[in-house]
Symmetry: D2
Subunit: 363 residues, 4 copies
C-alpha cells in the first residue's frame, strides 16, 4: 500500500529524500525497446532542481544507475531497476520537524500514519524528489510509445493567474510537443512566459511560492484503448496523476468548463477524414465512455504552490500544544510548476503505456 502502481506494466518506487538513494522497478516493460540515453537524461534534466533561479539552488545530477532489464542497449523484458543516489542532502533539524510539522506538508499525517517512525528529513518518502524515478520510467514509456506512433508533451498552462495559450485540441502536431520538450520553459506563448517568470520572482522575493496548471497532451493514440467504468482512461490517468505530490485537481478535455456548457455545444460532432473518424471539436479530450476516440488526449492538472516557504508561519508545536512561529530554512522552489511538466508527462506516459500493453498483450 503506497508506491506500487499498474497492471500490465507495474512500477514500484522507493526511496526517501535523505536516504541512500531513490529509484524504481518497472515490471512488465516490453522487450526489445532501444535505450536512448540522451533522451532519458534530457527528461531527467527537465525535472532536476538547480537549473535556474526559478527553482531550488540544490544541484543534483539525478543520473539513473541502471541495475537490470537491459542488454546490448535494449530492454530484455525482465524488470528494469534504476537507482538515483542521494548526494546533496543537508539534513535539517530532525527533532524540530517532529515538534512542529510544516503546514501544507505531510509531516503530521505521515507521523500519524507511520506511528512516528517515518523519515521526516526533506519530507522523506513524501518528497517531491520521488518524482525523479517517475520521470525515468516515463522516459522509457515515451520511447516505447514513440515506436507505436504516440507522442506526449505538455506546457505550462498557467502560473499564478497568468495564462499560456492552450493547445489547439483538435490539431496538435507531434513536432509542437517535441519542441516544448526542448524549451527551457514549455510554453506556447513566449510573452506569457515573461509574465510568469516575473510572478515567480515576485513570490521568491516575498519568501513565498506560487502554483499553476500544466496542460498535457498525447497524440497518435488509436481509437479503442481503455475500458468502461472502473478502468476508463480517465480513472487510470487520474490515479497516477494524483500520486504526484502537489497535484490537487485533474480534468480532461473541457473539464470543469463543461459545467457551464450546454449539451449542444459540449458534444463533439463526428466526421470522417479519409479513413479516420474524427471530431470537429474535442471537448471530451479524446475520450468517450472511458475509451480513446483517436483524437488528441488532453488533460490539465493543478499544482498547488510549494508549501515550503521561508516566510515565517504560525503553526502548532506538538510538544507545547501551542501555535508558534515557524521558519523553514533550506533551498526551496518558489514555483515547482516549471519543473512539473516532465513529471506530469511521465505519469501520463506510464498510464498510457500500461493501457497499450493491456490492449496489445505481449506483442
Amino acid at each position: 500500500m503506497g508506491s506500487t502502481w499498474g497492471s500490465a506494466i507495474k512500477i514500484s518506487i522507493f526511496g526517501e529524500s535523505h536516504g541512500a538513494g531513490i529509484g524504481i522497478v518497472i515490471d512488465g516493460f516490453p522487450a526489445g525497446v532501444t535505450y536512448d540515453e540522451a533522451f532519458v537524461l534530457r527528461e531527467m534534466e527537465r525535472r532536476a532542481p538547480g537549473r535556474n533561479k526559478q527553482s531550488t539552488q540544490r544541484k543534483e545530477a539525478d543520473t539513473p544507475l541502471i541495475q537490470s532489464g537491459f542488454l546490448h542497449g535494449q530492454t530484455t523484458g525482465a524488470p528494469i531497476c534504476a537507482i538515483i543516489q542521494n548526494t546533496n542532502q543537508r539534513s535539517g533539524d530532525y527533532a524540530a520537524l517532529a515538534a512542529q510539522p510544516r503546514p501544507g506538508h505531510a509531516d503530521y499525517t505521515g507521523m500519524v500514519r507511520y506511528h512516528g517512525c517515518n523519515d521526516l528529513r526533506g519530507g522523506g518518502h513524501f518528497s517531491g524528489r520521488l518524482t525523479a524515478p517517475l520521470v525515468f520510467a516515463g522516459a522509457l514509456c515515451k520511447l516505447w510509445l514513440k515506436t507505436r506512433g504516440v507522442t506526449i508533451g505538455s506546457h505550462i498552462q498557467s502560473i499564478a493567474q497568468i495564462q499560456d495559450m492552450p493547445f489547439d485540441d483538435v490539431d496538435i502536431p507531434a513536432s509542437q510537443l517535441d519542441a516544448l520538450r526542448e524549451a527551457d520553459y514549455p510554453v506556447n506563448n513566449p510573452r506569457a512566459l515573461d509574465a510568469m517568470l516575473a510572478a515567480i520572482e515576485e513570490a521568491r522575493e516575498a519568501q513565498d511560492s506560487v502554483g499553476g496548471v500544466i496542460e498535457c497532451a498525447a497524440v497518435g493514440l488509436p481509437a479503442g484503448i481503455g475500458s468502461p467504468m472502473m478502468d476508463t482512461v480517465e480513472s487510470r490517468l487520474s490515479s497516477i496523476l494524483f500520486a504526484v505530490p502537489a497535484v490537487k485537481g485533474v480534468e480532461f478535455g473541457a473539464g470543469f468548463a463543461f459545467a457551464a456548457l450546454r449539451g449542444s455545444h459540449a458534444n463533439d460532432t463526428l466526421y470522417q477524414d479519409g479513413n479516420t473518424v474524427k471530431t470537429e471539436t474535442n471537448n471530451n479530450g479524446g475520450v468517450n465512455g472511458g475509451i480513446t476516440n483517436g483524437m488528441p488526449l488532453i488533460l490539465r492538472v493543478c499544482i498547488k504552490p510549494t508549501p515550503s516557504i521561508s516566510v515565517t508561519q504560525q503553526t502548532l508545536n506538538l510538544q507545547t500544544g501551542k501555535v508558534e512561529p515557524l521558519s523553514i530554512h533550506g533551498r526551496h522552489d518558489p514555483c515547482i510548476v516549471t519543473r512539473a511538466a516532465p513529471v506530469i508527462e511521465a505519469a501520463c506516459a506510464i498510464a498510457l503505456a500500461n493501457l497499450f500493453r493491456e490492449a496489445n498483450g505481449y506483442a
Copy 2:
C-alpha cells in the same frame, strides 16, 4: 478490465441498459453490519429517474433484489450481490445507432473497443443506469462508515453558471449532510436552487441539456488513513469518481483555485483543539501527502451536460461516410446533476470504506 474496483472491498458491476438486469457484487464487506432498508431505498430513490420534470420521465423502481451476503438482517461477511431488474426499457432503432453513433457518447468508441459486438441499446454497459448498483453499494458503505463515526454528503455546487453556497470546509456538521440527503434537491442556498431549476427548464425547452458541479464532503474521518504516492486518498477517490459516466474533472480542497494562490495563503495552519489537531483553513481538503488529516474531506466533480439531446445534431453516418442530421428520440434528462449527488457520494463512500478496511483489517 472494466467494471471491477477495490482492494480490501472489491466491487464488480454488471449489466446493460436494456438487458435482463443490472447489479453488483461487493466482496470483502464487513460482517455484522445491520441492513437499514429504508436508508438504502431512499438512496436508490435519490438517484432514480422520473421523480420530477427535471429528470427523464422514465420511471424505474430500481429495487435491489439481494441474492447473498445477509442473514437475519445483518451482513455475513460473504460477498453481497444485488440485482436490479430492467423493466421499463423501450429499445430504439438498433441499426440506426450502429450507423450514426451519438456525439458525446460511447457509441463509437464502444464499437471499436468491442469489435462491433457491444449492446448499443440505451448505451448498453456505458449507460448512466449502471450507477444504480453503485448507489446500492455506496448506501451499504455509508451504513458501515456511520458506525465508525463517518458521514458523507453532498450538494449541487453549480448548474449552468449558477453557484450554490459552498460548504464551510472547516466546519460541516453531520446534521447538515444528513439534511441534504433528505432534500428533493441538495443545495445550501434555496435561492440558488430556483435559478438552477429555471436554467434546467430553459434547456429542456430548447431540447438541450446543462452540466454542473457536485461538491461532496466526508466528516468524522480519523487522521492517518491513506498512503503516499500511488495509494493516496486522492488517487483512490479519483479512480472511482471517473468511473461515473459524465465526470470529466475532479478536484480536492481548493483544487484548481490553488493555481492562483500563494503558499502563504494556501498552507493550512495547524492548531490544537482539545486533544485534536486541526487546521485553521482547509485548502487541502482534509488530505496531506495523500493521507487524511482529520479535517473534512472535500472534493468537487464536474458533470458534463447530458449528451443525449433532442435537438437535431449534425454528425457522421458511418455507412455513408457523410455528416447527416441526427435526432435522438426517447426520454432524456435535461440535467443529470440533480441525480448525480447520491452517485458521487456513493463512489466516495465505497472508496473510503475500502481505505478504512485497509487501515483496520478484518476488525
Copy 3:
C-alpha cells in the same frame, strides 16, 4: 478479500448455500464469443449433484440465469452475470452448527473470521455448491479457448487407492479430452472405474467418504504464455485451484515424483517436429520457467474426502467446552471426486483464458 480473482479476466463469485441464489460476474471476457447453451448446460450437469448413487441425492437443476453480457447469442464484451437460484435447500439446525462446528469443515474458522456472523447453513459461502458458478465461467472460457485451438479435459486419476491410467503426457488428442467430457465418469481405464465405484459404495455403506486425485490437461497451447516468478503458469493456476474447496495439493508434470528423479531423467529433451519445437518427455508438464513450452499442460490436484460424513464423530461442543458425539444428518456425497473433474477443468480454463487475454490483449 475473498471471492474475486483474475487480471485481464476477473471473476467475482457470490452466494451462500441456503441463500436466495449463487452466481458469478465475469469481467473482461472477450466480445463476440458464441454461446453454446448445450455445452454450458452439459458442463453444469457434470458437476450437479444427484445424478447417481455415488453423489448426494439432492437434485438441483443448477440452470444459470444470464443477466448480462450477451446479445444475439454472442458475448458483448460487457461483464457477464449468471445466477443460479437455490431451490432445494433444507436448512438444518442452525444453533447446533454454531455450537458444534463440524470437523474438517470451515464452520469454526468461519465463525472466528466473521465474528460469528457468517451463514453456517450448508456451509454458507464455504459450500462446495459455490463451485457451480465456477463451472459456468469455466464453460465460457473453454468455448473461447476452443476457438483458439485449446482443449481442456481431465480424468479421475485415483479414488481411495485405486489408480486410473494417467495421460500419455506427450500425446493427448483433443478427442480424448472431449470423450472424457461425455462420459458418466471420466476415466481412461474402465476397469479402474469399477474398482473405484466399489470403493465409493463401501465408504457409503460405512457412512464414510473417500478422496482422490484429478489429472487435468490442456492441449493446443502455444509456447510463450505466462511470465517468470510471480506470474508463472503454475502460480496462476494453483491460486485458483486452491480456491476449490477440498483441494489440498497441486502438482505439475512429474510433480512430487521429481523428488526421486535425477536431473538426467527429469530434463525434457527438445527436438523439432516440422516447424514445432517439442520435448521427448514432458516431466515439466508443459511449463518451463513459468512459461508454456507448447507441450500439453499437465497438472494433478488432490481432493480430500468429504468431511460431511454420517458416522458419529467425537468433537468439541463450544458451549460446554467438552468433546461430545456429533451426527451429521442430511444428504452427502460419499465421494466428490467424481463431480470434481469439471470444477478442476473450469478453474484451469479460467486461469488459461486470463493468461491468453494478457498475452493477446483486446484481440
Copy 4:
C-alpha cells in the same frame, strides 16, 4: 506481469544473473520494525552458494545493500529497497545458449516470450539467484512476525528417495524451528542426513543432480487469518511458492495423502485446551476453508533436480534443427534442496506477513 506480488505488502523483484545487480522493493512493510542484521545475514548465508561441496563452488557474499525504508535501525513504513551486487559471474558462450536451449530450463520459453531479447546468461531473470532478494524480504517478514508470536521454519523432508522424520504436526515448538535455522542442514533425523549427503555425492560424481522435498511450518498463528475461495491461505501461499524456480508441487497438511484416506480418518477432531480450540490431528495443515484454525500451518513443496548437469545431454540445436550433444559447463549444484529451505520459508513468511497486514491493517 512477472515479478511483483502481494496486496497489503507488495514485493517487486528485479535483476538478472549476470547484470549489475539483483534486488527487491518491499512496499507496505510495517513501520517500527527493528532491523536485526545478524539474523538477516544468517538467512542470506543459508541460501548462499559455495558453502559446502553439496552446492555450487561459486562464492557470492550476497550482502544486501539497503537503499531505503530504514532510519535509526528501524523500518520507516516507506518502501524498503535492497540491492545485491553481482560480482562473481562468468558469462558463458551466449550465442551457444541461444542456439541450444538447455533442457529443463527456461532458455527456450524465455526466448519465445521475450522475442529473443531476454538475457540468457546464467538464466537471466529466471536464475535461481533471484531467490536471494526473496530471502532478504522473507527475513524481514520473519522479524516482524516474530514480534507477533509467529515462527517459521523448515526441514529437508527428502532428497532422492531418502526421507527425514516429518514434523509432529500437532506439536512443533518454536525452538525446534529456530534450531533447524542454525543447522548446516536442516533435518530432524541426523541419520537421514548422512544418507542424503551420500546420495548427493553420488549424483555429483555422476555429473548429475537430485531433487527433494522441503517441509515448512509456521507456528503461533492465530485462528481466523485468510479468506474463503480465491484468497485462501493455500491460494496465497501456493502463488508465491510456485514463483520459486524448480518448485513443481505444493501440498498442505496431509496433501496428496488425503486421496487414500477416509473422511473419518481425515477429519481433525476439535477439542478445547484451556481457552484455545485445537484439533487432535492436523491433516488439514492448520487451514480450514482457507482460513487458519490456530494449529501449525504445514506445507510441503517439491523441488525438481537441478536441470544444469554436466553430463552430456542430447537436445535440439535451433540453428541446425537437429538433436545434438550438449555439455553444460560451469559450477552447478548437484542438489539445490539443501539451499532451498530458507527460500521456501521466505516465500511462506512473505505470504503470511501479507495476510497479517490484511487482517490487522496499519496496526
